[in-house]
Symmetry: C2
Subunit: 325 residues, 2 copies
Amino acid sequence: MNLTVVVGLMGKRRSIGIDIGHTNIRAARVENGTVVEVLRERTDVPGGPEGVLEQVSRMVIALDHGSGCPVGVGIAGQCDSCLGVVRCGPNLFWPDVPFRDLLSARVRAKVVLRNDVVMATFGEWRQGAGKDVDDLACLFVGTGIGGGAIVGGRLLEGATGCGGHFGHISVCMDGPLCSCGRRGCVEAYAGGRNVEARARSLLLEDPGASPALAAACREDLDRLNGRMISEAASSGDPLSLRIRDDMAAALSSAVASVINSLNPERVVLGGAVLFGFPDLLGMVMRGAVEQCLVPAKAGLSIVPSALGDIAGAIGAATMALERYG
Amino acid sequence: MNLTVVVGLMGKRRSIGIDIGHTNIRAARVENGTVVEVLRERTDVPGGPEGVLEQVSRMVIALDHGSGCPVGVGIAGQCDSCLGVVRCGPNLFWPDVPFRDLLSARVRAKVVLRNDVVMATFGEWRQGAGKDVDDLACLFVGTGIGGGAIVGGRLLEGATGCGGHFGHISVCMDGPLCSCGRRGCVEAYAGGRNVEARARSLLLEDPGASPALAAACREDLDRLNGRMISEAASSGDPLSLRIRDDMAAALSSAVASVINSLNPERVVLGGAVLFGFPDLLGMVMRGAVEQCLVPAKAGLSIVPSALGDIAGAIGAATMALERYG
């Protein structure tokens, strides 16, 4: 046992995890494997990289009490994790921002950077629904759809550190245009932002198609959001249930393709949008298993995420501690 | 350096690789990294597992000259590589055959078993177009479509040893039924067997649609094969070119989904059906790059396989030597 480990065990093994989503930032301080404090704020999207950097720096300083402990950051974008650079994101439009080094200089701590769902995957693997499994795939359905995987007991990184973008598997090569530029990505069918856009478009075509949704947004389509659609689906609104069914079909197809490609022992499904719709999780679980190859089904389990909306922050803190603790 | 290695270096480091395809079996003896003898036979498909076992045993015995050197086997089916069992194959219908141990007992040698394209991937990685790369994805288009990957410098195996079945990525969730039971797999669009079936069906609908194909098969659709279609495409036959274009679209979509999922540094494309159609390789290369995420394009190269139709046999021999040599 070396000196670092001894000191770590004698003191508190502390790190901070930050999950920068398009809508919210969640920050957690983890000490000795336990989450001891969580902060949540709306993401300063209009502020751009500089605004979000300022916001995250404040949150880190509020949590770390000057300890300078390592920081992990997951961000809803495409990262080159080797270089610590946010290349671009379908959901956070930052071109080539060296966020890792900028934050590190600001908070005077070591920082590790990955995509947000890659961090959530790491969290679920180390402490959540993917514990003790060597082959794991995760898919989280939020504003966008992200993914991550553990392959043979190691995080799937990829050549430029942007592996695991299962949200940009196309389930229909002639399907609707995705924000990434290709057609038919599962995110174009089932990501929260696209689900909202589709509901708006269906209501524009036929304003009487969903009295429930029209009432929820007070007939102002700009106010329509994902929560209204999932609540309408829960109360039996046919248009919202049709949207839910199409989400289930697209998600089942993408998850089955991930299973056929990676042959994981476990698949973890998460994200507020997935959990918001009635029966959607079960529909995706059944649909994916029906479609995957026979030997890939052997011993396979598909389960909901266990760490809730702080999976990404926990994963980020855990990775920071393992890398720099 | 241990005794085994010393003896190996003093003598010949020899192994045998077998590639059991739906149409042909290729067997190679590799000595000190060089292919010194290759045998090719038509696969005894009607003979079933027992017939193919007998055939492969004969080929091994003809190649190994009684040395009992290790044998690698790649087979066009879904394998549990941990158990050495062929679970089932869309292209070779064997349910749960413990082929590894059966062959091992028959030829009195150590045997390692994988899917055929997983073996080809291993061959391309060690000696071919994927050399010196830590993140590699391969997709081979033959009778069916297979895949394989190297992730972070290690072969993608998966929980039950059946990872890498990229042929069963669905590119259209409402598409044609695949032999695996799901809809719209890239194999259903671009695998040789399905391409032939589609050409037959188009000619049945409209017997005048392709005078070139009608002449090639002497108006007997049972005689129609993939080579006739690719030759007709090369001579400008519109129906065959339409089939080629649809293959290109499906393959581009699947390859882009693999790139977005795994973020490889290199993609190797191979298989007789892919190379048989004019411009198909180039169309898939361009189509896939157009569709993949920006950071996944950085440093990416897509190249044709370098080891030809013995990639699988070379990979199998190489894996056998690394495992048991």
